[in-house]
């Protein structure tokens, strides 16, 4: 009996704990965000890059170079959200060179209100309309992201 109870408790607690890949709430907030900014070109499969030009910790040049290197040949639509009001010209000039890219300038940083508050630039992977992966874009994650996306 004890083993039975224990197995139930463990399975319940595992479900509660295992929220690493559960992006349901974030997906809902992302959809709400796109509704709020009236962005209609939401694709079922896309890569969303949240760029942080105002954040002192984010090194835009490095992460832009990384994005250009890794994602240049991708077919998946890429949406770049410039979350701030600095370095907009630089980012637009660099990112619009990527094929399949759309740039959104969120100068009032609305996306923060939808739970996507990051210090560093961030990548959000969407498949079949659901967020399947999120990661900061910085030195420490470059190799991980390269392994996942480099073709």
């Amino acid at each position: 009996m004890r083993i039975f109870i224990l197995s139930i408790i463990l399975s319940v607690s595992t479900t509660i704990c295992d929220n690493k890949n559960d992006y349901q709430e974030q997906t809902d907030y992302l959809n709400k965000y796109f509704q709020k900014i009236q962005y209609s070109k939401v694709a079922d499969n896309q890569l969303i890059f949240v760029m942080q030009p105002n954040s002192c910790g984010a090194c835009s040049k490095e992460s832009v170079a990384f994005i250009q290197q890794v994602f240049d040949g991708h077919d998946t639509p890429q949406t770049f959200i410039i979350n701030g009001n600095e370095k907009i010209d630089f980012l637009q000039a660099q990112l619009q060179q990527l094929p399949n890219s759309t740039i959104i300038v969120d100068s009032t940083q609305q996306i923060d209100r939808y739970g996507f508050l990051h210090v560093d630039d961030a990548l959000i992977e969407v498949k079949d309309g659901e967020i399947t992966f999120m990661e900061s874009i910085k030195d420490e994650t470059f190799s991980k992201l390269k392994r996942r996306y480099k073709r």
């Binding site: 408790i9 939808y114 990051h118 210090v119």
Partner: protein, 383 residues
Amino acid sequence: MKFHIFIFIVLCSCSTQYNKSSSNELATQKSKYTVEYTTENHIMAWRDSVVETIKGRDFEVIDDIPVYLTRNKRNGDIIGYNFQTTEKVFKVKRSNLPNEAEYGQFNSIYIHNFDSIFIVQDYMIKLIDTSGIIKQQLVINNEADKLYKTHAIGNLNYAPIFFDAKNNKLYIESYCWKCKRHKPSYYKSKIEVAIDLASGKTELLPQTYPILYQENYYGYANHTYREANDSLNVYSFPVDPNIYLYNRLSGNYKTVGGKSKYQKQLANTLSRKQKDDEKTKIEHFSIIPFYYKVHYNPFQNYYYRFFSPGLSQKNEEGLFNKNSDREHILMIFDEQFKLIDEIKLEEKYQVFFTFCTPEGLYVNRVNEKKEKGLYTIFKINIQ
């Protein structure tokens, strides 16, 4: 019994993201004085390119001239303007400043007078004059230094270099550069050194982060604030209401209470396992109760600091709160660190940008258009 304890641990282990911290806070003493104040809006009239101020030392009275210190964002020149006339008082051209490629980036500056400007870079402290002539230089953070085996020297943000002419010593922030910032060892290391300019000897002062930080992890809310005046080094920290004092003349240390009546809860702690979870850390930083640096107003002999009460994670619309939603409280202490009054600010401010002049206490105001150079002057009358 063991079985029940095990079940309890399993159920508790992942259900909380934040934990409540314990506190060693001291009671805040009430001052006999009272405060009256008026406010006045002010717009900085400097050219647009001069927007990057030097953190912690924006305003100095140098040779009886009220000087507003800036660093030109584009060319790196250090410029001092007469605050009253807006005339340029001095300019140290970037080309006359120590070479960043050789000595590392600037992290602090202190202008004692126009002939004595202390500049701290990653590997060197230089004493220059306004024409850039080097009068003295000290190598710091060198592998041959005994101190560097445990501590690096440099202003991480809110503890700028300070020169005490009475004892001919420089005071500057130190930190354990080998320690990981989520480990207690980082918070047990000494946070300031005194450098004797005559002998070049460096002395670690006893002050560390408070116990609160040694026992708990607060992610990004781990600034060391240090203010200095004629006799005191004043240390404070974002989640600790207490204020820590070091009297340079007597060598005595003292802790005083400095809690705001608007602080209704303790700051939640993070798990050390969340050290790399930047999203959680920045959310935590944005909503916890937060104390800003203690500043000294030398013109009226009082101390002040801002406090921001904690926010809930989400607002009434179910959207996430952010740092810019914070309210700010201006706390005013007398020269004995007894709390005179707390003023709830009605507008939005970036309270990291504040300084005092004989006119009053300046705080950077924010409007919806995000215009630059907006300040409110609090003209405070203490009776």
